[in-house]
Structure formats: C-alpha cells, structure tokens
Symmetry: C2
C-alpha cells in the first residue's frame, strides 16, 4: 500500500521524566530503554511496513537536526518543520497538507515518538488494519484495551461494532473522555466499553483536511500557505489545539480499534519506565551505572551523568536518577509528582539551567 504514510509527531518537550528530559533533550531523544533513543525505536519499528520515503517527522527547527542525526536514513525533506509549536492539530494539519500535495489519495498514520510498544509486530498489524478502515473514510483512533483504572489517560467509549479487520474488532467511537477521576476510571474499566486513547490516529488526508476545514476553518486557511515563508507569516493564526480536543471530539464517522496485547505504555513517569523495562530477580532496573546492590528491590537507578558506581543498601521501591548536574531521589509511587520540582525550578532565577 504505497500511498500509506507514517507521520511521527516529535516536536514535544515534556518534563515528566525530569531531570533526564529537558527542554533541549526531549523524551523522544532519550535512551530510556537502553542503546537506542525513543525516536530511533519509533522509526525502526515502522521499517517493515513503511519505506523510508513514507516515514515523516513533524518537529521544530530546534529538534530537527538532532532527530535527523539519530535516523540519517530518513530523507531530509521528510522532516516537516512547524514554525512554532501550536499543539498536535496544527502539526498534523501541516503534515496532511504536505502529503495531499504528493498524493491526494494518501492515507496517514499519526504516531508518537516517545511511547513504548512491547509487541512491535502486532503494532504493525494494527496499523495495517487501521489503514483498511481509514480507506472507508473513517477517522480511525487506535485504542488500547485498558489493563487498570488509569487516571493518566483519556478514554474512548465505543459504540456499534463495525467490522473485524486483520484480527481486530472495529467499533464506531461514541465519545471521547479526558483524563477521569479515579471512581470514573474504575467504572469505565469495569464497564468494558472504553479504551485508552493512545493519541495515535489513521485517516485519509483528504478526509482529515475536510474535517479541519469544517471544524477549524482558520487552521485550514493557514495550511494553504504555499511556501515556508508564507507559512511562518500566518502560523500564529492557527489555533493552538490538540487533535483530540480540536478535531476528534466533534468529528463525524470516527472509528476506534481497542487493541490488546501491544504492551503499550506512554512512559509518563519514572515508575512507568520501571514497569516496561526488564528487571533483575529483585525487581531492579539499572541503566548507565555500575550497581552494587544490597537488600535492594523494585528500584530504578538511571545514571547518564558519566559512568559511576551506585551502591544501594536496604532500599526498595525507589527511583534514583543521576544526570551529572542533577540527582533526583523519589519513591516510585511518587514519581508523577516530579512536576512539583519542575514548577519550583520555573520560579527560580537560576532554575532554567536545570529545565
């Protein structure tokens, strides 16, 4: 299916993995899982399904050169530069407009650069199935069958069953639900009618751009800019909004494929990283450091500030992150609160160097 393109969104910052993730070192450029960056992993898992000329990256000028260095096999022209970050809706709109110029029949998968996917072969099967559904003019959202009552993800309620494609059940999407409170999350998990919203979508570019034109005409107008210079001039007029909120919640003919077995995780916290990485017998994960462990269990040690010896004695359920300039110590079940540290640094005159 040579008109099927993958578009990787890699413009983001994000500080949920502070102190490792920084403004200049976003999550997609981190070697969270070992030797390869998250972006490299995201590109490489697509290779069996997409030739490199059909793998696109939406990012900003700030990150493009580094990302290209990470994946030199991608054509330079496949890096689509946002003049400034304005949310996923303008970013994907830009990619869709570019792809329509090449081929009005193009189908695009909108993918993330910083998520963990355990079963990559199954992920590609899902992408292939989603493209078939997209060809029927649905806006397809890739759902994740929930495994616990998460309050950290958005949810998608399914409606009528549409079909079965490539081993996946496909449903009409009835309702998008933003991150819920705990009781609501538990009710949705128990009800069995909701999938997590992975933030990944598949659609025909023309179908998507028609939806943009209908819902956000100002954005559609911006996307008609003929040159990079013209685009930069009008980009500020694009509403700063996400695909979910700006397009999907009020879109027509939305489908959802609630996939299970992907081993998907958005690695939204240090604790999440500890969950996806292989552990030793005591449940520890050690990256980047030589570790001397005594009575230590369920602990993550992540050292990127130069090789050093890390000795832990009598600790459990702890996260220790050493970036050289910063040392962060936190119990694993509190790691989502790292934003408190980040917020405090934003208030400090000298905080910027650590952000």
């Amino acid at each position: 299916m040579d008109h099927y393109h993958a578009v990787i969104m890699a413009g983001g910052g994000g500080t949920r993995l502070w102190p490792l993730s920084r403004k200049e070192r976003p999550k997609q450029s981190l070697k969270l899982l070992g030797e390869r960056t998250m972006f490299q992993i995201a590109v490489e898992r697509l290779a069996p399904l997409f030739t490199t000329d059909r793998i696109w990256v939406v990012t900003s000028d700030r990150y493009a050169a580094d990302l290209h260095r990470q994946c030199p096999g991608l054509p330079a022209e496949n890096f689509i530069l946002e003049p400034a970050p304005r949310g996923t809706a303008p970013a994907i709109g830009l990619a869709a407009a570019r792809l329509r110029q090449r081929n009005p029949r193009a189908v695009m998968a909108c993918l993330t650069a910083d998520h963990f996917i355990g079963d990559e072969a199954r992920f590609r099967e899902l992408l292939a199935a989603a493209a078939q559904v997209a060809e029927q003019d649905y806006l397809v959202t890739l759902g994740i069958a929930p495994t616990f009552a998460s309050t950290g993800f958005g949810y998608i309620q399914r409606g009528e069953r549409l079909e079965r494609v490539g081993g996946f059940e496909v449903y009409r999407a009835r309702r998008f639900k933003e991150k819920p409170a705990q009781p609501e999350a538990e009710a949705m998990l128990a009800g069995g009618q909701h999938a997590w919203n992975s933030g990944m979508f598949v659609w025909r570019v023309e179908r998507f751009l028609a939806e943009v034109e209908r819902q956000i005409p100002a954005l559609h107008q911006v996307l008609t800019a003929a040159t990079p210079e013209a685009l930069a001039e009008v980009w500020g007029q694009a509403p700063d909004t996400t695909l979910d909120y700006g397009i999907m919640e009020r879109a027509e003919d939305v489908a959802v494929i609630p996939a299970d077995g992907l081993g998907w995780n958005d690695i939204g916290s240090w604790e999440a990283l500890l969950e996806v990485l292989p552990t030793d017998a005591a449940g520890n994960v050690v990256l980047g450091a030589e570790h001397l462990s005594f009575d230590t269990s369920r602990t993550l040690v992540h050292a990127s500030g130069g090789q050093r010896l890390v000795a832990t004695l009598g600790v459990s359920d702890l996260v220790v992150v050493d970036t050289g300039d910063v040392l962060f110590v936190c119990p694993r079940d509190k790691t989502q609160d790292v934003r408190r540290v980040v917020d405090a640094l934003k208030q400090r005159p000298d905080g910027a160097e650590f952000l």
Copy 2:
C-alpha cells in the same frame, strides 16, 4: 601547666563513612561538619589549653603532609611518624617515648582526630581535670556518661569514688568491657555504673611507659630505638595492639571520669553524622549540594563530587552520599551496614579504586 602535651592520633583509615572516607582520604581529613576538616577542628579546640608546640600528631608518612597542610601552625617536628600502622598502643608508646626525651615529667593527653565534641569548653575543663588526676600517677580514661544503650562503644565500669576535680567526679576504673550485645548494653545503662570508653586517655608519660614495660616488654624495647632508621628496623617487632586491649584492661591504678554534657559522638556512621549536625525544620541536613526538598524529612544529603542540584521528593530517613565517582543511597538506620559494600568491593578486581 607547660609540661602538659596533647597527642592526636591521626593515623587511621576506617571506612564507616564510605564512600566519603577512603584509604587515601581518612575520616580525620574530611569536612564532615562544614568548612573545616575533623583534624583541623580537633587541633583548634585544643588551642586555648595547649600552645602549638605542645600539640603532637601521631600518623604515618602517608597522611603527614596532608595533615600538616591542614594545620600549618603546628611545628613540623610535632608530627610523629609511625613506620607502619600497628594499633594505638605502639603509636602512643612512640609519642610517650618522644615526650619523655623532652621532659620526663610530661603529662600527655591521648586524643582522637575524628570525633565530634559539641561543648568544646567543657571538653577542655575535662582535660584540665584529668591532668590533675594523672599527676597522682593514675592512668586516666575519659569516659562518656551514656545516653542510650549503645552496642557500638566499649564500656568502663566504675569502682570506688576517688575525688572531685574541677567539677568532675573521678572514680577508680573496675573493668573494661568491649562492645556489648544489646541486652548487656541495656543492663549497663540501667545500672548507672558504666561509662562509654571514648578512647581518650591522660597520663604521665613515665607512668605509662612503665606500664608498657610491665605488660608489653617487647614494645618497650622497640621504643628505645634511638633513630628513625633504627625504629623502622625494629618496628615490626612491636605487637599490633590497642591501648584498651594491650594496656588498660590489665593496668593498675586506672581512673575514669564519666563526663556528661560534652555532646560527644564518634561519628561512627552516616546516621551519627545526621545526629550531630544542625538540621532544618524538617530534620534534613544538606552539605555540598543545592537541595530542592519536597516532602522530605530526616534525610542527609552529602555531596562532595562537585556542586550539583539534588532534588528529593517524598523521602524520609534516607542518607544520600555523592562523591562524584560513587553514589550511595541507604536508609539512615542501615548506614552502619556500609561495611557490607566495602567488603564486597574488596573482593572485586576493580574495587580498589573505590576504597
């Protein structure tokens, strides 16, 4: 009293404060309490009582230059070099022999370089009182009135009351007891007849050397060596033993002064350091690092590997020590087990660089 001399024992290694204390960086040379090394503090607290020509240091060739750099006001000839470390009995024997050459009537206080003393004025009062008792030919041991049932110190049982000197009660010492088990420690605390053995002693050098001659004639023979070269040749014949075990346990006319109110602590573990240092309102101690603290209490952060930001979130009763090449994380009540890490490093081919 110009024949009263202070001898600081500063030859020791010790790894109880690993990874900060190392073979080449012994405890007495560490800035555990802030800006000054333990050795500098030990010398400076003596200055109101001893002129610098009467402050002596027993150490080894390995440490002498560094110690002299720390206290350049001490005369070079006051650094007495052991040819090799052989315990406190030969070390103090060496110093006693040297002092006797100067003045057979000399009284010497045998002091430590790596202990914390909160009330330095009271400590000097104790030293002055002890000298008066020593002039009566007692071997005086400085005791510490115990404040809890410690299993980490030796104990001294007191016998008959001898006198009151300078506000201190003086007793004949009945029995030396090495580090006890917990029930025995509790019984001794409850009984009120025992003091901790501080490892500090005061005596006339002739009286002490006579005791050496009586109990360890081989050591006494070694101490008669006339030159450093002669000493180096016979030093290996000196028994490797401590003052406590080699001399005091079987000595005659031993006195003990069980002092209270000194704020004495031998800083035998990271937890002990946390106990003697001033804390913030949440009970935290931070040295050498900029600290961002969130929901953090009773925690010690000690950073000596270059200025860095240390952020702790949701931790309590933890010790974090960063020396640049090593990071050590341990709950405060487990820090005495650091010897397990040290022992493991001794077994490793590449462990020496961290010891």
